[in-house]
Symmetry: C2
Subunit: 151 residues, 2 copies
């Protein structure tokens, strides 16, 4: 139940792309702006490209840009691109697990976990992220003082 460095980096780089509206941005500039190891970042950008999140051109004046408008790319899209499916249990999707006896309802719990994750990650777009204007439901979640406490 943790967020990998890769996913974190990917979202931050994508946010940087969403913010810069002009032309292709080169990897080095993204790496500098968000303080991400360059060569690692290029691998991540490649994955984003293979998943249709980003496009790229080589050569002088080359670089990366978003394949779609910033308000049509969700954080969930990016996380899935680099980490794979969200909230799988033992590498199988929760809707495909079968429990017996006393833990029959556990499947419903994992489904709810996935749904609640989606409710945040699918809602937030790159446009929201760079504007700082998150959707109401997400703001509400983060607004509670409890949410900021460790456990």
């Amino acid at each position: 139940m943790r967020v990998s460095a890769k996913a974190d980096y990917a979202v931050r780089a994508a946010a940087e792309l969403a913010a810069a509206e002009e032309g292709p941005i080169k990897g080095e500039r993204l790496a500098d702006a968000q303080d991400i190891p360059l060569q690692f970042l290029e691998h991540i950008l490649l994955e984003l490209k293979h998943n249709g999140i980003v496009r790229a051109r080589r050569g002088a004046k080359g670089g990366y840009w978003l394949a779609k408008p910033a308000d049509e790319v969700s954080v969930a899209d990016i996380v899935r691109a680099v980490e794979g499916p969200i909230a799988h249990v033992q590498s199988t999707p929760p809707e495909a697990i079968e429990y017996s006896g006393n833990s029959e309802s556990l499947q419903e719990v994992w489904i709810a976990v996935r749904a609640s994750l989606r409710a945040v990650l699918e809602q937030v777009t790159l446009a929201d992220l760079v504007s700082g204007e998150l959707p109401e439901s997400v703001k509400d979640l983060a607004a509670s003082p409890d949410a900021w406490l460790a456990r």
Copy 2:
């Protein structure tokens, strides 16, 4: 963003303990009931014991039992016991991360993610699990047909 086999096993074993109200239950019976490799399960039970979720006694008539009433043990407690803190980013808690520039709001997003996970995992107790009566908010999440679709 996935659930490990360990966490899944741990919750299922704990559910089994919650269901059996009489005396200590031996590891082998838990393993059989939930189809979990015995020796692996014993390691997990040990971790649960060290985290005060479970108690144990050895010898004939020995076994494991819950350290607290089933309605005072949440799924979150168990997941934390075996997987560590929930929703950490790069192994640091979301409230401690500092982002700059275009991804300043990302911290708020990760906080919201953690909050939404907690809203499910802290709500559901072992008693809920074995009775099949999940809290309303959790049932609602799992009730949507969308929640059962892969993405």
